[in-house]
Every structure is written in structure tokens, then in C-alpha cells.
Symmetry: C2
Subunit: 250 residues, 2 copies
Amino acid sequence: MVTKKATLEASAKLVKSNRGRRKSSVALTREQIASAALTLLSERGIDAFSVRDLAKSLGVYPTAIYHHMATKNDLLAEVVAYALKDMEPPPQGQDWQTWFRELFHRYRSAVQAHPSVAPLIGARLVSNAGVGSDLIEHILTKLVEAGFSEDANIVEAFNVVIAAKVGFVTLELAPQPDELEDFEDMMRVRVNTVNVASYPLMARLLPLLANSAFMMRWENGVRRPMDDSFKAYVDVVIFGLERLRGEVSL
Amino acid sequence: MVTKKATLEASAKLVKSNRGRRKSSVALTREQIASAALTLLSERGIDAFSVRDLAKSLGVYPTAIYHHMATKNDLLAEVVAYALKDMEPPPQGQDWQTWFRELFHRYRSAVQAHPSVAPLIGARLVSNAGVGSDLIEHILTKLVEAGFSEDANIVEAFNVVIAAKVGFVTLELAPQPDELEDFEDMMRVRVNTVNVASYPLMARLLPLLANSAFMMRWENGVRRPMDDSFKAYVDVVIFGLERLRGEVSL
DNA sequence: ACCTGAACACCGTTCAAGT
DNA sequence: ACCTGAACACCGTTCAAGT
């Protein structure tokens, strides 16, 4: 335990506790930068995040960051990878349905732990690059197990899985606008002034939909997790994959 | 046809053709601003978009924009609404499966027509507000037709539909990084240096996956539409919804 | 009501210079 | 190799003043 790695962790902790004042003369690492960036992102949100503030929190000049990261985009991609690094793939030896179910749920949990990175995933091509080859190979293996193959839609099925994995969670955890209160009021009013004559179903279902359905909520998934809907979504995807497997191959 | 609306369109065209030089003394409208913003967004991408450039393209001072829009976020929400305003809901009188299939395909076509707004949808809670009540009522009606109800998962089904509608397309059309060439090269290398021993499946399927699968592509859906995968995705969602309807109600 | 014009408090990023 | 320090060319937004 008392190795280079331990020493590094200790110094990292030191730097972290000295926020704003960089006493240690140990060199910065990409990981330290990513970690500090994630902290800042969580505290202030994506819109308020700046390289200059990040530098300040690390006790260095803004330009020091650019010795480790090429651009701000590069930095954000690193933050995504750092935030999701603890997501472990589901254990092997389960049927493919269970495996994919767990994959989706674990991914959601990982993003829920760092919801501030949600808008960076999926909506930017860079962050895709962060996913490891291990996970890709795993997914392909399970798809073969499910009956897909080079001659039977395995590429399509793969893309369905990835889109399904990322899609719901991105929407669920989409960040709120900065002017919180105005937005809440606006949405409350909008939702509660539904014209009963024009929109009978909407009006009747209002108690169920208000602040619980996409486009009718004023709080996002951080404050109001959509657990039941996510469960239904995962069911739909698994059921659908089961049937897709049985349909025509190319 | 020769109405106020036509006059408005004519004046809008005039202003548009006078890019950078605002001869007309007619007042700006939110629609003109949104239109010009969409043009700029398409030409230069979301990262290069600024209120100041938008003002320049309209021939006004940047601060003039703020007489019509509260913030840049507000403006972007307006642009999303403007870009999607031509998306017509599927015609009525079809079975619910066909209706939802068409909804998904029409939505994709609408975003494909203005792919620069893709990263603004879903990943930001503001843009959700842009969807009209008509569409929401339509979706709910079709879900009731499908067998969902207040006592049987209609909220969950609704959220599944919305997440499905937006999810895939957001990923498919996610914008490329600015430093195009570096990224292409990086991804090409990454994809072509897959370790055959560690990742046998990935290596074998490489010809099929390269530049065609999420996380293994270096061009996005604008240049490389993922038609087959989207089709499979829609199938999966419809199949899944059919079966979800039959499962346990709450 | 709608826009000008000046100003404020910031940005990301480059480059030369220090150690 | 890693960081400082100064500088460049921008930002979004506020506010008073004009018409």
C-alpha cells in the first residue's frame, strides 16, 4: 500500500484540501484537473463553468491547465470519463436480458452520482470516445448470445442498446435553466391553465402528469427521479430486442 | 393569401436578403431573430454561436436583441421551437403503432433539416417547453387507444414515448468537435488498433462497426445517417410498448 | 416601444518568458 | 517539463440615453 500510488493519492488529497491555495509544488495531473473540474461542475452547473474558475480552484494560472489539456472541450471529455470511471459492468453469467437491464440501471446510477455531466454525454460526439473497449466487447458478446450476428442486425442492435442506454437518462437529468424561479412559475401556470375543452385527456390526467412527465415538469431528475418511467423504458427496450431478434434478418 | 401574414413574410425576406445591413426601419420580431439565429447556427455550429454575431447578421446592436429575448438561453429555446415548427403530427385514423412510427420518423426528419439544434433538445430543460399541447394530447389519445390508462401506466408510457422520440436522434446528430481532422485521425487509429486477442468480437465486426456504430464513428448522423439502426430502434420501441401494455398494471 | 452607445465583468486561448 | 505573466480577441448582459 505504501507505494508511488499511495503517495500520489495523498498529495492529491492535500491539493484538494488546499482549495484556492496551491502550497504543494507537486505537478498537476490530468486526473486532479478532472476531479476539481467535476467538483466545480457539480457546485455551479455547466453554464457557469469556466477554465479560469477551475484554475483558481486549483491555485494555478488558467494557462497552466493548457499544459495538460488541449482545449476546454478536451477537458470536458476528460471530466465525463472521470465521472463514469466507477461504473462497473454487470457481472457475467447472467442471461442477456438481465445483463442489459443491469447495464442500463448501473449507467443511470453512475450519471445520477454526477448529474452535472449529463448534458455532456450523448449530445457531444467527443464524450462517446470515453467508453472503454471492454464494455463494447461485453455488449457485443451479449448480443451474440441473444441471437444477433453479422448476418442478423448486430450493428443495428448495438446502436439500439447505446441509444437506449444514454437517451432516457440524458433527458431525465437535463439541467434546469439558471433563472430557476421564473421557470418554475411559468411551467406551473402553463400546466395548470390547460384548456379542458381543447385538451380533455391532458386536463384529466393533469394530477398524474404535473411535474412527473417530460414537458410538463419544472424539476429535473435530480430532484424528481423518474424511477417508474425508467423501469418501463428498460422493459420496453428488452421486450423490443427480444422480438427484433425473431424478426427478419437482413 | 395576400394578408398580413404574406406581408410579414415579404418583409422578413427583405431583411434576410440584407444580411449585415439593416436598411429597413421595420421593427425586429422574435421570429426574424429566431430565423437569423438558426441560419447562423447552421453555418457555424453551436460552439461558435454568439449573440453579438447574431446582432451583426441582423444589422443591429447586440443589445437590441435583449429587447426581444430575456437571455441567450431564452433565444436558443425560441430557435428550437422555430426549427421544429414545421413538424406536422401524423394524420389521424391510423392504428397506434403506425401513428407512433410516423411520429418518430417525422421528428427525425424535422431535426435532420436543422441538425444544428440537435444538441439543444433534450439536453436542456428549456427546450422541452417548446412542444405544443396539441401534440401532447395526440400522444395521450393514442396511448389510451393502445390500452394504457390512468390505472395502467399511461404516465410511464408517455415518458417512454418522449424519451424514445428524442433519444436516438440526439445521439445520432451529436455535433463533432471543432478540430475535425485531429478527431477523425484519432478515431480511425483507435478503431483500427483494436487488440484482436483481447477483443475478438470487436475485431471481427470492425468492418461493420467502423464509422457506423456509436463510439466507433468519426462522422455524425449529418454526414452518415444511421437509417437502419433508427428503423430497428423504432421497431424495438413499438414492440416493447405492445408488450408493456399487456404486462402488470400498477 | 424600440434601438443606440458605452461600459462592466468576464471569457478561451496564444505566446514568450521564467524555473 | 511545468508554470507564470501579459496580452489578444472576444463574450453575455446592464443601464442610461436617444428617437
